[in-house]
Point group: C2
Chain length 209, copies 2
DNA sequence: CATCGAATGGACTATCCGGTCCATTTAATG
DNA sequence: CATTAAATGGACCGGATAGTCCATTCGATG
């Protein structure tokens, strides 16, 4: 249970052969799949074992610190997915059409995801006694907000967004709106709030005619 | 595990004597306290038993459907707390000073709450196989958003907020911003996003001078 | 082909914990 | 004071599951 060693994440793993790496990947992918469909709380290591055609010893061979370490790897995997799903628009918010495309991608992505948020579920499961989980989320938010902020600055430079607004603060507000929209969607099943949140933020970024 | 009966919540309980009600309340309060400090995932019925000076049979006497039913009661309890903590300002958003007071209350409340959100943790734990948990959250959001919307309408009627904005949509965006601000705070420990979200929403509601 | 470490298989253990059961005490009511 | 139902105490059970251990196979390298 306890995660004593603070590293053991990406780099320092011990001599993985290509075959080993493939197996490790298969485990993480499979675990992510199972968790997405069933929820962490109802996913046992045996479920993962079965879904990935591996044995118990393999699970502990690749994740010697146990289940928490595996869940951490899954969380990192899911966090990457979140941003990947928004690309390439997220990295090219340089004109209004791209902003609208991005808006639609985000809304559609979460509409499809529906009532489950693998990431939130993993995070609350691992809880604060596993500090690495927070770094994953913080890092995700930083990258996400950074991309938005870069977009705003780029638009301001082009005169397409008002120079009067503080890009960093606006990016924070927009990111918060998205997160909240998703949270509310998890309960209500509707993206209505997500849409309102993004649209209100974007409205505030339109230049006065 | 299964919660077959859809009621068994507030009303229909079977003949509780004053003493019984007191015990039941003690259990819910105590469970909420333990969960807040330790997280659901690491709270067993024995922990609750110990913290509330009760016996196993009492737990099942008051919550015959088991742990899920108890967690549900705790969730309802925590949801009520959320709104209560914002009163009376939340119900009197009729002038700008009250809006600012409310804003400060919300931010301060969550600043103090810090990195734990008992409600989110309960909800993700119970998951979708317990439908009642969603009603609790949806109901919370409805009441919360309703109060905000009433405030906006009241301000518009007084000419203190622009009549051009759609009160319902603005309330949705503001609520989403708050939720997202809290979510981000859970990861980063900072209320910066919460502040940005609320302030940007309020800025959009100021009448042009 | 021999060797050695990585990769794999799967039985087994230890333990935690939700839930059951029955015995006992408390308290309200006639 | 007798009766009855609610309230309480706590031992016990059964299942689930994280983690261990050792034996076996695979594959690269000399």
């Amino acid at each position: 249970m306890r995660a004593e060693r603070t590293s053991a994440e990406r780099g320092s793993a011990k001599a993985l052969t290509p075959k080993g790496e493939a197996t490790r990947r298969r485990i993480v992918d499979g675990a992510a799949r199972v968790i997405r469909s069933r929820g962490v709380a109802h996913t046992s290591l045996d479920d993962v074992r079965e879904a990935t055609a591996t044995s118990k010893s393999q699970l502990f061979h690749y994740f010697p610190e146990g289940k928490d370490q595996l869940l951490l790897a899954v969380a990192a995997h899911e966090a990457d997915r979140v941003l990947d799903d928004q690309r390439p628009a997220l990295d090219a918010l340089d004109d209004w059409p791209t902003w609208i495309v991005w808006r639609d991608i985000v809304i559609e992505r979460y509409r499809q995801q529906g009532r489950t948020c693998p990431l939130s579920v993993l995070v609350t499961q691992l809880g604060r006694e596993v500090p690495e989980v927070q770094s994953i989320i913080v890092h995700l938010f930083e990258r996400w907000q950074g991309a938005i902020e870069r977009g705003i600055l780029s638009m301001q430079a082009a005169g397409s967004m008002p120079a009067s607004v503080d890009a960093a603060s606006a990016a924070r507000a927009l990111l918060a709106g998205i997160q909240g929209g998703v949270v509310i969607m998890l309960a209500t099943g509707s993206v209505e709030h997500l849409e309102s949140a993004i649209d209100h933020s974007l409205d505030a970024l339109r230049v006065a005619p």
